[in-house]
């Protein structure tokens, strides 16, 4: 990153950090939703944006995490934030299990299968599978998160929890993107045959992208459960997956700043125009169609990675 990017990002971080001091509760709450969607979209970006795998059942992984957290918390009284790693694990393992037999399918077939998986999960939740999901009513009475003895209750407090997690995610995903792993995913997206020819184990990397993205969505689900204290199947409908898909495509597949910008636009703008709330999806549909003709690469497309010759030389020599 050059100096200008650092400056702009630093400014954004500083602005966000002080934002709750100047905004009212409702506005902070909107920022919290944006943060959650940004988190989910970043996790989907790993699958759809970096690896180019059409996943339109992301809400299923999100639901897995949220329900794992809620069940552990309400039945076994495990503090909600402690369930974070476990919800991530459950969502990730679930994604590996469902993706394993279908991951070789070509683009749009994978899309259809993931829609199917998302629906099956939702129907299973509604039907109170194993008697632990609470059916259509969902699960309520999830306890408030506690961090170092401090109970997080008000939106302003959640703001720091959620955006802190977003910041951590951005940092980790940026590192991942610049790693050998990230380059392998990008290669896979651009040309699967060539990637395989260069010795990239395509099935392994595809599954790894699925597992990691889903695990992250699962952790976002935990935060969601903690924030809402009530979860029900309708929060994890097909449209949730569509909105996430749209955020990634609109922002620019594989571009972290793009995904963040699109999360602000897709989640934030409808709040500004509440009187047109019913036309929200209509506008989204139209935007998707127009974008694909006018600017298919997204608002802030991912730029190719640049390497300075000097560093490359040094690394080869070593």
């Amino acid at each position: 990153m050059n100096r200008a990017t650092w400056l702009v990002s630093g400014l954004f971080v500083a602005l966000l950090a002080v934002a709750p001091l100047f905004l009212n509760t409702y506005q902070v709450d909107v920022l919290n939703s944006i943060g959650l969607y940004a988190l989910l979209a970043l996790s989907l970006n790993l699958i759809l944006g970096e690896a180019g795998l059409f996943n339109m059942g992301h809400a299923a992984f999100y639901a897995m995490g949220a329900y794992t957290a809620a069940i552990l918390n309400t039945r076994y009284q495990i503090p909600i934030l402690w369930t974070l790693p476990l919800s991530g694990l459950v969502a990730g393992l679930f994604a590996l299990a469902v993706a394993r037999p279908v991951v070789h399918l070509r683009g749009d077939y994978l899309l259809i299968v993931t829609i199917g998986v998302g629906e099956i999960v939702r129907i299973a939740l509604v039907n109170d599978v194993f008697g632990i999901t609470g059916g259509a009513n969902g699960i309520f009475g999830i306890s408030r998160p506690k961090l170092f003895g401090f109970v997080i209750r008000r939106p302003e407090e959640f703001f720091y929890l959620i955006w802190g997690f977003v910041a951590l995610t951005i940092f980790l995903f940026l590192r991942l993107k610049q790693s050998r792993f990230g380059r392998a995913l990008n290669y896979l997206r651009e040309d699967e045959v060539a990637a395989e020819g260069s010795g990239i184990n395509t099935d392994y990397y595809k599954l790894a992208a699925f597992g990691l993205g889903a695990a992250w969505a699962g952790m976002a689900g935990t935060l969601f459960a903690a924030k809402m204290t009530i979860i029900s199947p309708e929060s994890f409908s097909f449209w949730e997956s569509v909105v996430l898909f749209m955020i990634v495509i609109l922002g620019g597949a594989g571009s972290i700043p793009g995904v963040l910008l699109a999360a602000v636009l897709v989640v934030g703008l409808p709040e500004l125009f509440r009187e047109f709330a019913s036309a929200r999806m209509l506008v989204f549909g139209l935007v998707m169609m127009v974008m694909m003709v006018v600017r298919p690469q997204g608002l802030l497309p991912a730029r190719g990675q640049r390497f300075s010759l000097a560093t490359l030389m040094r690394e080869t020599v070593r």
Binding site: G107, Y109, I112, I120, I123, V242, I249, M289, M292
Partner: protein, 301 residues
């Protein structure tokens, strides 16, 4: 046995509807290799337009039930066909040379757009087809009492499928469609206007889908604006089940899926009815991605 036969015939009626929608998916996929996500919403348009025409024109009062419904079906088919052609022009033609993802996203956008225009025009609540216009008589087949509507739907869908099959197999235009599906470039060199073939496919598919929408309205008596995507997904499953791009495959797949779903709902669990189709979809893609009759699709998926 009685219960089984009732469920079987019910499954055939629903399956006939799935098959009609599936034909639209499979024809478009055959020629363009594109999943037309908005097809399910064109089907919903058929149901809503049928409702509006039925109540506003009162055709059945003026010319009797049989002629009235026939005229209604033809009007709905014509209107939805025009809508399909507009969709192709607006959402798919500009993207014909673009990467697959662009076309898929545009199709999804079109689907969301169409669905929400219906919601804004008619409102989000369920719309009910009027009582008293449709016959509620039942027919007696050797002790098996079947609702007349169910029999009519099976007959009408089979008739349309046979007509389409003959059109595709026996006419020059049908031959052109098949040629364009096999190899667009070669078809163009043989003097086939591929753009017109694509337009025709986008007229035929939505016409059948629109008719299917009207049938759902007549059969169940109520429609809602989101039903397009459930029926669309199931019809797409039917198309995959039979082998996508394969026209007889879509017919077989549709009927089969309808029967599987009806029997599954009756004998396994009604609450999991919608999940059955998705399970079939996932299983078929894992076990036999070319579908039952899909040997023609050589492309690896």
């Amino acid at each position: 046995m009685e219960e089984f036969l009732q469920q079987l015939t019910n499954g055939l009626a629903v399956g006939g509807i799935y098959a009609l929608i599936a034909l639209g998916y499979t024809m478009v996929y055959g020629v363009l290799k594109l999943i037309n996500f908005a097809h399910g919403d064109l089907f919903t348009y058929g149901a809503y337009l049928g409702l509006t025409l039925l109540t506003s024109l009162a055709l059945t009062d003026r010319v009797g039930f049989a002629v009235g419904v026939l005229v209604l079906v033809l009007m709905v088919m014509g209107l939805v066909a025009v809508l399909g052609a507009i969709l192709e022009r607006a959402a798919y033609r500009p993207l014909r040379e673009s990467p697959r993802l662009s076309a898929v996203v545009s199709a999804l956008g079109a689907s969301i757009f169409l669905q929400n225009t219906l919601m804004l025009v008619y409102g989000a609540q369920i719309q009910v087809y009027p009582d008293g216009i449709l016959p509620t008589a039942t027919l007696d087949f050797f002790g098996l009492y079947l609702p007349l509507m169910r029999v009519l739907i099976v007959l009408a869908s089979v008739a349309m499928m046979v007509a389409l099959y003959l059109f595709i197999q026996k006419t020059r235009i049908g031959t052109a469609i098949r040629a364009a599906a096999i190899d667009q470039g070669a078809a163009r060199l043989m003097g086939i206007d591929v753009n017109r073939v694509i337009l025709l496919v986008f007229l035929l598919g939505p016409a059948l889908g629109g008719a299917a929408g009207l049938m759902v309205g007549l059969y169940y008596g109520q429609v809602n604006f989101t039903m397009g995507w459930v029926y669309g997904m199931k019809a797409f499953t039917a198309a995959i089940l039979g082998g996508i791009g394969n026209i007889p495959g879509a017919m077989v797949g549709g009927l089969l899926l309808g029967v599987i779903e009806a029997l599954g709902a009756a004998y396994i669990s009604i609450a999991w009815k919608d999940a059955i189709a998705f399970c079939v979809l996932i299983l078929i893609l894992i076990v036999r991605p070319t579908g039952l009759l899909g040997e023609r699709v050589a492309e690896k998926i």
